[in-house]
């Protein structure tokens, strides 16, 4: 290594170090390092407070139900721990939080209230749907229903449609904290409380976005099996046979409902 290159390398190292030192001081609050580097502790404290405030604000926007459920000291603690566990890495606070639902399961509060993780996952899906791509059904693809056999018909769902399996009343918990109608919120809260103290069974929750505002519902028996089958890539025929024994399920009704809810992007034909 010649002297000039060595010198440049040393300068780069120094540059890396001063940036890394500042990050370490802010994120790890190494008081000794701060003092040794002669950095103003008041400044570091401002950056630390900004970081925590920005992170809390971001999570409270992306996870509004979770933040309604947690006391402010708990949410602050969880935010702080989550920052260390999963630092933001995309330059957009709105995209930070994918791992929060699984992180919650590792916390005391997550053990104490096991439904919190599923509430968090639901918030994340709703948040993503809110900013998701704007899609509506490609009307022309409906013609495939008349032209093709169900064995060859598959459905491409709107990217904002997601299914979430849970044994907790997370839809009621969600609506207990959203919407302007106070009576509806109260009723949702009462329903949630009743379900939480009774025997809980698995159910499928669907997130969808008819226009700009995402909505969540618990799918009825039959509808849940049918949707899961279609979304896992099964053909229309295979999905219909999965609900064959269910007399309450009607494909015609489902289709009208799916179009109204903007669930479908397009039908596609695939020769098997």
């Amino acid at each position: 290594m010649n002297a000039e290159v060595k010198n440049d390398f040393a300068k780069d190292e120094q540059c890396m170090n001063e940036q890394q030192c500042l990050l370490d001081a802010i994120w790890n609050y190494d008081a000794n390092a701060i003092a040794q580097n002669g950095v103003d502790v008041r400044g570091i404290n401002i950056y630390r407070r900004n970081l925590l405030a920005n992170a809390q604000r971001a999570l409270s926007i992306s996870f509004p139900t979770l933040f309604e459920l947690l006391d402010s000291d708990v949410s602050e603690h969880i935010t702080f721990q989550f920052l260390k566990s999963s630092p933001p890495n995309q330059g957009d606070w709105a995209q930070w939080g994918k791992a929060l639902a699984s992180f919650i399961t590792t916390t005391d509060i997550g053990h104490q209230y096991p439904y919190l993780s599923d509430c968090t996952a639901l918030d994340w899906y709703v948040h993503n749907a809110l900013h998701g791509v704007d899609k509506t059904i490609e009307q022309s693809s409906l013609q495939l229903l008349a032209d093709c056999e169900p064995e060859h018909i598959f459905i491409k769902f709107n990217p904002n449609v997601k299914l979430l399996e849970t044994k907790y009343p997370i839809v009621d918990i969600f609506y207990a904290h959203h919407g302007d109608d106070e009576l509806k919120r109260k009723n949702a809260m009462n329903n949630a409380k009743q379900v939480l103290v009774s025997t809980q069974s698995e159910q499928i929750v669907m997130i969808y976005r008819p226009e700009f505002q995402p909505k969540v519902i618990t799918l009825m028996t039959g509808e849940d099996v049918f949707m899961r089958s279609l979304m896992s890539g099964q053909s229309l025929a295979q999905s219909l046979s999965a609900v064959n024994g269910n007399n309450q399920f009607s494909f015609e009704k489902w289709l009208l409902n799916a179009i109204e809810k903007n669930l479908i992007h397009y039908f596609k034909e695939k020769k098997l």
């Binding site: 103003d40 957009d92 704007d134 700009f212």
Partner: protein, 290 residues
Amino acid sequence: MLVDNKALLVGVGLRHPHFTDILTKPKQVDFVEVHSENFFGQGGAALSVLQQVREKYPVSLHSTSMGLGSIHDIPMGYLERLKKLTQTIDPFLMSEHACFTWGKQYGQSMHSGDLLPIAHTHVNLARMCEQVDKVQSFLGRQLIIENVSAYVKFDESYLSEAEFLAELCQRTGAKILLDINNIAVNSLNFEGGNIQQSVADYIKILPLKSVEQIHLAGFQIPSDGQLVIDDHAQPVSDEVWQGYRLAIERFGAVPTLIEWDSHLPHWSVLVNEALKAREIAQAILHRSKS
């Protein structure tokens, strides 16, 4: 010396609570500025509103996360989202800050979540020129680089921030977004607090045609012994208005924006701040012409 090089435009930073106001109230400002990252989603209501706003107003895209001074590279995913937004909105200005944001913690790549200051050295200047060149090429747009407020200073700095930015612009063809409030905050925190003098010292270093936009904002007066925080939660202070006068006298009619990010006021209060900027600038420009 006055350079009356373009029409005087005044604008406001547009934040979510004012979406309805901007679309329904009579047009009183010339442009709006939004934070790019707030519209990185692929769709949804916010992006739709911005597209409607764009039909009525020129839009300036102000990024806050690019971290042009970072020793680590800007992730391509970030730049691709910014490029997509740029193509959708076709902004009349695109700006970022002279700071760093990317680094590593706990063995993972991370974003600092804040505008962190850089040491003003030739090494950092070369690094930032490299990043600015790369971003300008990728976006096919000129960038405008903003001076930042800081709460720590690096002993390693041997250039002033103004010298650093002037050189950056000369080497890359980028321009400067002069934030008078940031100069004021740094003046109070590190330079004894003579804001007028700090602004005068700063702007005399910048080439006459280098400033493409001016930001004005307010800050909170701290309790004794504490640093001033650049919170954008107040009306523009008298000292910053004074600094603005100096800047207009030197740089002429530069598009001027009022930033207000916390404790947002009523729309009319925000607009009145922009109208005040127009009034001040026009008086100076008129006096200069006559």
